[in-house]
Symmetry: C3
Subunit: 148 residues, 3 copies
C-alpha cells in the first residue's frame, strides 16, 4: 500500500466515523446499520455493565435504546488510524457525548442528562461496499451527571 492509498483509506475511515456520529445524533437507524459488518462487536460495558454485544442487529438495538428518548451530540477528535493491511485497520478517537433525555426517560435515577468524555477503540474492515466497523469499544475518562 503506497502513501496515497494509505491517505485515502484513512480519509474513508474518518468518513465512516463521521457518518456514525451523524446517523446516531439524527437517529437514522438504517444509515447506522449500513456502517457495521454483520458480525461486528460492540463493547460498551463501562457504560452499561453488560458484556460485549455480537452482531449488527443487537448493536443497533443497543445504540437505539441508549439515545432514542434523548437529544444527543457525539463529537470525536484526533483519530489515530493504523492500517494493518489493505483491508484492515484499527483506530482510537477522543470522544465527547452530550445526552439530554426527555423528561422521565433517563435510564439513570435522578439524572436528567450527561456529558461524557472518553475514547473509542475500533477496528475496521474493507468490504465490497467500503470500510465498515468490525468492532467498537467505548472507554470513559469521566462522565458529568446533571440533574437538569
Amino acid at each position: 500500500m503506497d502513501a496515497l492509498q494509505m491517505l485515502l483509506a484513512q480519509n474513508e475511515i474518518r468518513g465512516l466515523k463521521a457518518r456514525y456520529c451523524r446517523f446516531l445524533d439524527t437517529k437514522d437507524w438504517e444509515g447506522l446499520t449500513s456502517l457495521f459488518l454483520e458480525d461486528a462487536v460492540l463493547d460498551v460495558e463501562q457504560d452499561t455493565g453488560n458484556p460485549p454485544l455480537h452482531g449488527r442487529a443487537a448493536i443497533i438495538e443497543q445504540i437505539r435504546i441508549a439515545v432514542v428518548d434523548a437529544v444527543s451530540s457525539h463529537q470525536v477528535h484526533t483519530p489515530e488510524i493504523t492500517l494493518l493491511s489493505e483491508d484492515a485497520a484499527e483506530g482510537v478517537w477522543a470522544m465527547q457525548d452530550r445526552v439530554v433525555w426527555q423528561p422521565g426517560k433517563s435510564p439513570i435515577p435522578g439524572i436528567a442528562s450527561i456529558t461524557g468524555y472518553g475514547q473509542y477503540h475500533e477496528r475496521y474492515h474493507r468490504s465490497d461496499d467500503g470500510w465498515k466497523f468490525a468492532s467498537l469499544r467505548l472507554s470513559r475518562f469521566h462522565v458529568d451527571m446533571h440533574t437538569a
Copy 2:
C-alpha cells in the same frame, strides 16, 4: 479530478473552516469577510428566528453582533466534504459553541451564557482566490442555557 486533487481540495476546505472558527473567536472581521463569496447565504434561522441573510456584508454583521460582546469558542468536528465538481463542494460538520456574554450584554433574557450542539451544513466554491463559503446553515440538536 483524481484522488490526490480530491484530498487537496478537502484539505483546503478544512482549512477554510478552521479559519472561520479562529477568525470568529478572535473577532477578526476582516479575516472572516475574506472567507465568504460576495453573494453568499447565511441561514441561522433556528437561532435567530430570522430568514436567511444574503450577501457578505449582511452575513459578517450578523456574525459580529452575535459574538462581539462575548467570549466565544467554536469547535467543529468530523467533516463530510463531497466534491460536486472541480470548483464546487458541500459539507456537513458537527459543531459545539460556548458563548459567554459580558455582564448585561446577553441577547437572551436571564441567560448569561450558552453551550450549543449542532451541525453546520455548507456549500463551497473555488474562486480565483481559493475555496470560499457559498452558503452556511446552522442546525441545532440542543442548546444549554446557563444563568451564570
Copy 3:
C-alpha cells in the same frame, strides 16, 4: 516539497498531536516525553503565571503536576498546519480541556474542576525519529470554574 509530501507531513503532525492528547489523558509520561525535542519550549503562562519552560524534562514535569491528581480530557480541533520547510512547521489548534481533580487535590482554591477553551500555538521539527514538538503555547478564550 510536493503536494503528496505536504499531505503526509500534515498527517504525521496531526498524529503527533493526537498522541499528545492521548498520552496526557492516560498519564503515559514516557510516551509524552517521546513527543518533544530535548530543547523544546512550553508556554502555559496564561494558566500558571510562570514564564515559559525550557527543556523536555521541565516540560513533562509541568504537565504531569497539572493533571496527575485529576482525570482529564483534552480535545483539539481544526488544525491549521503550515509547512515552513521540509523539516519545520507551525500550527494552531482550537482546544478544550475538562480537568476534574480528586477531592482536595485542586490547585485552585474552592474549585473542584474546570472546563477550558482556547488554542494551542505550536512549532514542529522533523527529527530522525519523526516530527516532534519544538514549542507549544496555550492561550485561553475562557475557563469555566466549577465548584463540583
